[in-house]
């Protein structure tokens, strides 16, 4: 793959990140209500104290000076202080990142493994198994993640007691055990879509000339399946999987909130409710960056799997 293509896409991503961090900062700056009033939390204070607070947080500097200071700090990994509890935003994020990453990773594995497996079964079998998979993927797509979370919780945690109801666990094994149900809830809609796309792709490949020809040549069914049908049907599937894994980033906070996990998402929801802009800004930038990087990786991956994809073609 030409290096120039990768470089151009990276440059575009960096440009988008700079502009979007400016927009996010500007939106928070323009928000009604002033930060120092939030800090004093309704107590009556003298104008001198307010002035001191404004000075401490450099609130009186011109807009562009403040943006520049914030932006250069962010580039150095310094996200500032949370307005609501004075903690360093970077520390807050670092503590919560493992939960969110594990959750998204588990969900991604579920989407790839279960989604493709169910799709292949639906594509190869006719009859009841296929019907169930079609129905499941149609309904599964319509189930909001938070509702799936509640159903799973009531069946497997409250009813059967197999999994813990809340919390994200300590240590790797315990964490995975705590995050299995949340990951399943998060994965469900995407899993349904991936299963359906896989099923369609497999069905198309099954009747393609090269698969029929291979069977006619006497190639064993198992090899036709593995080398001709499944391999070729993975092309459309890989894009869909990529798009949905990128989408998990934004979906994660709903599931985290439902299971009260201490991830980035819950932090964002709380920060939005409390108008803790330092935290909101930091998380927004990180999510936009992660979303952009995953999308870029997906495009590169797709281009390297399928040489016919014209490089540089915008999405």
């Amino acid at each position: 793959m030409p290096l120039i293509f990768v470089v151009r896409r990276l440059a575009a991503l960096i440009g988008v990140l700079i502009v979007s961090s400016f927009l996010v900062f500007a939106a928070m700056y323009a928000a009604p209500g002033s930060p120092e009033n939030f800090l004093v939390q309704g107590r009556t204070v003298t104008p001198e104290v307010l002035a001191a607070i404004r000075k401490q947080y450099s609130l009186d500097d011109p807009f562009f000076v403040r943006f520049w200071n914030w932006f250069t700090n962010v580039l150095q990994g310094n996200f500032g202080q949370s307005l609501s509890n004075r903690q360093d935003v970077g520390d807050l994020l670092a503590n919560r990142l493992p939960t969110t990453l594990t959750l998204v990773l588990l969900a991604a594995i579920l989407i790839v493994v279960l989604g493709i497996a169910l799709g292949v079964i639906g594509g190869l079998r006719d009859g009841v198994a296929d019907k169930i998979i079609i129905l499941g993927s149609n309904v599964g797509f319509a189930v909001p993640t938070f509702f799936a979370a509640l159903i799973l919780m009531s069946i497997f945690s409250v009813g059967l007691g197999w999994f813990p109801v809340f919390g994200s666990g300590v240590g790797v094994v315990d964490r995975i055990w705590h995050l299995t149900l949340p990951a399943l809830a998060l994965a469900l809609p995407s899993l349904a879509v991936v299963a359906r796309i896989t099923r369609t792709a497999i069905r198309e490949e099954r009747h393609s000339e090269h698969a029929v020809m291979a069977s006619a040549r006497g190639v064993p069914a198992r090899l036709v399946l593995g080398r001709h049908i499944i391999r070729n049907s993975m092309l459309p599937v890989s894009t869909v999987v990529g798009v949905h894994i990128a989408g998990l980033i934004a979906g994660a906070f709903v599931v985290e909130y439902a299971f009260t996990l201490d991830g980035i998402g819950t932090l964002l929801v709380n920060a939005v409710q409390k108008k803790d802009f330092a935290v909101v800004q930091a998380i927004a930038i990180i999510l936009v960056a992660a979303f952009g990087i995953i999308n870029l990786l997906v495009d590169l991956l797709y281009a390297s799997i399928d040489p016919r994809v014209r490089l540089g073609a915008a999405r």
């Binding site: 988008v16 928070m28 323009a30 909001p144 949905h244 980033i249 999510l287």
Partner: protein, 275 residues
């Protein structure tokens, strides 16, 4: 009508019927809801289904059936705003872009690329952080984040039409771009707009319900399905699943019906989604 029914197929007609029931329920809520959706009675908490309370009552003793009916209103209004705003602005932006081409087109493309960089729900959360939680803020922010998807499809369809004779010849006659676009281009992309709206309605319903679930869109004590799922979470853990389950079920039914209809009409590609 008959052609539409044929296109939808038997399941599609069933889906349209379900969606129609939800819409009628929402419209007639003030007439047919037996109780006030926001006022409960302490002596009536956690009632099972009965003739008095068809779906039982919630933890505040409010009638769940009435809350589902009233909840249909706020649950439908949000996505309706999203679909309307996105349809109008997305189409407008796409057609402007196609009509002028060149610099205008590439400038608009850059802006849309920037919007693509924000996951939908994140953009909505940012807007809510700035303007405070409300259904209007959530719906308008989501509309903006849906615009690039809609604009992308309509742009590529309109590009193909742009150079056809029926667009070119009135232009030669000196008829203004706005008139040609409105008279000729819009009717030709209209089916795409409608199919896209059907699919986007479902997406929007799920995302607004999620925001309400997080306490960031519809505010209590108003009835809303997303809010009811979250309200009922505590009761569910205590063994009273009715409120959460029924509200969730209605979201699933509505979204699944619309999704099926949209799929029959032209598929998710019409909404500009890659999948």
């Amino acid at each position: 009508m008959k052609a539409l029914a044929k296109r939808l197929g038997p399941i599609g007609v069933g889906a349209a019927f379900i969606f129609a029931i939800v819409v009628v329920g929402a419209l007639l809520a003030p007439l047919i809801a037996p109780y006030d959706p926001t006022i409960g009675s302490v002596t009536q908490r956690f009632q099972g289904p009965s003739l008095d309370h068809l779906f039982g009552t919630d933890q505040a003793g409010r009638d769940i059936f009435s809350r589902i009916l009233w909840g249909a209103r706020s649950s439908l209004v949000g996505p309706l705003i999203v679909v309307a705003v996105t349809g109008v602005l997305g189409t407008g932006i796409a057609l402007t872009s196609v009509w002028w081409g060149g610099a205008v087109d590439s400038a608009i493309s850059r802006v849309l690329d920037l919007l693509f960089a924000f996951p939908n729900l994140l953009l909505a959360m940012l807007a809510i952080a700035v303007f405070g939680p409300s259904l209007t803020t959530a719906a308008l922010a989501l509309s903006i984040s849906y615009i690039p998807y809609t604009a992308r499809v309509i742009r590529s369809m309109a590009l193909r039409e742009r150079n056809l004779a029926y667009v070119r010849s009135p232009q030669l006659q000196g008829i203004s771009g706005a008139v040609i676009t409105a008279r000729h281009l819009v009717p030709n992309v209209a089916p795409l707009i409608i199919t896209g709206a059907t699919i986007n309605f479902g997406f929007a319903m799920i995302e607004i319900a999620a925001l309400s679930f997080l306490g960031l869109a519809v505010q209590p004590p108003l009835a809303d399905w997303g809010l009811m799922v979250s309200n009922g979470q505590q009761s569910l853990l205590k063994g009273y699943p009715a409120e959460s389950m029924l509200a969730g079920l209605f979201i699933v039914l509505t979204v699944a019906s619309l999704g099926y209809i949209g799929e029959r009409l032209g598929g998710r590609a019409a909404a500009g989604r890659r999948s």
